[in-house]
Symmetry: C2
Subunit: 458 residues, 2 copies
């Protein structure tokens, strides 16, 4: 019986197990344990134990981490995922109970099915299938499943730093990949960094009648004046020293990008816009999204914003900006650079509040784990896996990829571009779920044997 | 018995009558008649009738106007005021009931006492005192008292236009003057115009994950880019054709301004700022406030404005701007000019919504009614009245001053700079109230005799 037959013959049981996981509302944004956190973590631990791993709960200052090890050999693979989910709200937009998994049109609907419980479950089930086929795992596999990913992993950095030996590995399988709009499996080799700041300008101690508009300090205009020094009139970032930090992408990154199927017309259509920013198109847009930093305005606010007119000179103004960073640009130095930039232009009065920072992470597109990821898709008969040198978004990947120096790749997840991650009616296609189980089983075979073809074909 | 003695001897009655007026909560912002509007209008009408005038209620599409005429002669004086008041909220900040007038430390506290019921009452009482002293009024005096000033006089323009003959006069006494911080009576000879617009920029059909920050259209940045064409980096307005419209101030306006005592240090202190906009000081600041147009940001909003960080590219952004206009600049053409300015710079996509417009109004500082206003203060022993060519704010003055061509002046009101108009604990000093009654009595004498000294001295 080949792998596909074995998965197909136990579909019911595999799904039932996933549904049990999905019924636990492990919403990390809810304070305390009302989300049934510990029960959910314990359940995951027990599943890993059933699969033969030595599994335990590791405490953090927040929700616990589930950690497990199994197998032995020269090589070690780390698997990262999370058992927490986003809040389901707005509930009224769900077509079925977010915590009562429901199958419709070949897809399973439930909060967390695509992000990230389906992924976590598929990996554990793949581990069992591997052992049924091959017996003992001939490498060390470590599961590292956190419970705070959906609230920004606030306790992950200290956890990783104080458990750096425990987590050491030759490669890491991260969560967060998917199939794209056209159905191609996507492999991400990095994430952007992030410097999230708030610029604040202050005027009079109270809002003034706008009869004083010609002489009263205007924090809103002050911010506009500050912002005009951060981007020029063509929309290019003009922050002193920002560009200079960038480590240029490798030739292989550029090559990988040239192979990515990217349909900017479809993107424009889905956004309902006539043009992208700066009229970017095709590969230029893709390179901009993947390889270039950003200076985004996530929010701006001053004065009266209700209906109709009110005539005041507002006393306060702020702008929230997220700078997505590429390798070479660290959030701390970038915030300092923003401060220095504004100061040197006379904006000492504009306060720069550092709200949040994440490091960029990058695994070379030609590293063995990426090769293994692509070849595993080929094992499943898929020649169409697409390698992204990086993703436009950010995450705590750098803790593993950069701080621990472990080549890290996002591949094999059950999600697809239409999975409505974080939104009502989150779903995963059943065929993607069963394919993910087969994918991870084959990945374990390939990881064991380096990049050589392993196990039975399909 | 001279005028002061006559006022002093009936202080109790004069105050009681004012208090009766102040007890009526004629809040124009309240829908329908729950504010007891008609009763208040009827009460004012009856008071004018008691003073011998032919008084009536004139309907508008909103709250009614109280109109009255008395006296006969070659000259006609129009008196404009309003019987409606601002809402009293926040109530918890009032030290006494806003609609139960209370005397504390020589001042009367009540909503509307300084704006504008004290003013309206003082004029009616002055009319009675004039007649007691001199008999029949030897000129035509018209009272025009509206009920919607505090909600922007939405029905005033059609009312004035369809009653232009009724309202015709040689001069108009407008409401809205006051005593300044140092106690000098202030005479305003004009108001600025106003063009209130909202600029709106649109991006994707929904907020996007800011991983797309480098390629998604950003309405917030788009507005910043549009705004940077409206003011230069020094804070000077750079709107095409805006400056050219300005009718330069007269020599007499400049002379009047040079005589205004203006303490920019006190203003900065009261606002809690170290410097005025563009580091303006002294007479430069005063000229800017009184003679120059503005391009104020009254509000701006886009995206996420709550606590902490959220990483989105917002789909919408808007900025509310009020342009205070000076003679030569009309709101309609100014809005067209803003549209043309943005269009010629490629901002066709930025929507310009015309929210509200008011014309500037200007009466020459050397017109007879201004001279009469100053000389009336001298009659009361005050050599310190200050003539402002205009005020930084705007109002419907132009309907009378410009459209009907009636020289219009703001003088004699009971308010002072600390009256907390529109705020909790609105008040007028009793001495200012009785002085206002004497002022209007003397004004009627002076108006009758041209600019010559009239009536008994004090």
């Amino acid at each position: 019986m080949d792998l596909r037959e074995r998965v197909d013959s136990s579909k019911e049981n595999l799904l039932e197990e996933l549904k049990e996981f999905l019924r636990m509302p492990s919403i990390s944004a809810r304070a305390g344990d009302e989300g049934g956190f510990r029960e959910c973590a314990e359940w995951v631990r027990s599943k890993l134990e059933e699969a033969g791993a030595e599994a335990r709960i590791l405490e953090t200052d927040g929700h616990p981490v589930v950690y497990a090890e199994i197998g032995s050999g020269e090589k070690t693979l780390l698997s990262y995922g999370h058992y927490d989910v986003q809040p389901p709200e707005p509930l009224e937009l769900w077509e079925s109970d977010p915590f009562e998994p429901t199958i419709r049109d070949g897809a399973l609907y439930a909060r967390g099915v695509a992000d990230d419980k389906g992924d976590v479950m598929a990996r554990i089930q793949a581990l069992r299938l591997y052992q049924e086929e091959h017996g003992t795992l001939p490498f060390r596999l470590k599961f590292f499943i956190e419970g705070e990913e959906e609230i920004g992993s606030p306790n992950l950095a200290p956890f990783v730093r104080s458990n750096s030996k425990l987590l050491q590995a030759d490669a890491c399988l991260w969560e967060g990949s998917m199939k794209d709009e056209a159905g191609h499996p996507v492999i991400f080799c990095g994430t952007k960094g992030l410097a999230y700041v708030e610029l604040r300008a202050h005027g009079a101690s109270h809002d003034l009648h706008s009869m004083y508009g010609g002489i009263a300090p205007s924090p809103a205009w002050r911010l506009v004046q500050a912002l005009r020094t951060i981007k020029d009139e063509h929309g290019e970032i003009t922050l002193d020293g920002f560009e200079e930090l960038i480590e240029p992408p490798s030739e292989k990154d550029l090559e990988a990008i040239s192979r990515i199927p990217f349909d900017d017309a479809a993107l424009r259509k889905s956004w309902g816009v006539e043009a992208l920013d700066r009229y970017l198109t095709g590969e230029d847009a893709l390179r901009e999204m993947l390889l270039r930093p950003t200076a985004n305005i996530a929010g701006i606010m001053s004065g009266y914003t209700g209906p109709g007119s009110k005539t005041i000179v507002p006393s306060e103004a702020f702008v929230k900006m997220d700078f997505r960073l590429v390798p070479g640009q660290s959030p701390g130095p970038v915030v300092e650079l923003i401060r220095a930039h504004l100061k040197s232009r006379g904006f000492d009065d504009v306060e720069v509040v550092d709200l949040h920072g994440v490091e960029a992470a990058k695994t070379p597109v030609d590293s063995p784990v990426v090769r293994t990821s692509v070849e595993t898709w080929r094992d499943l008969g898929r020649e169409d896996a697409v390698v992204y040198p990086t993703i436009g978004g950010s995450g705590p990947t750098s803790l593993i990829a950069t701080e621990l120096g472990i080549p890290t790749v996002m591949t094999g997840n059950v999600a697809h571009a239409g999975s409505r991650i974080h939104s009502p009616n989150e779903s995963a296609r059943l065929e993607d779920y069963f394919e993910a189980i087969r994918y991870f089983t084959r990945f374990f075979e390939r990881f064991q044997s380096g990049s050589a073809r392993g196990g039975g074909g399909e």
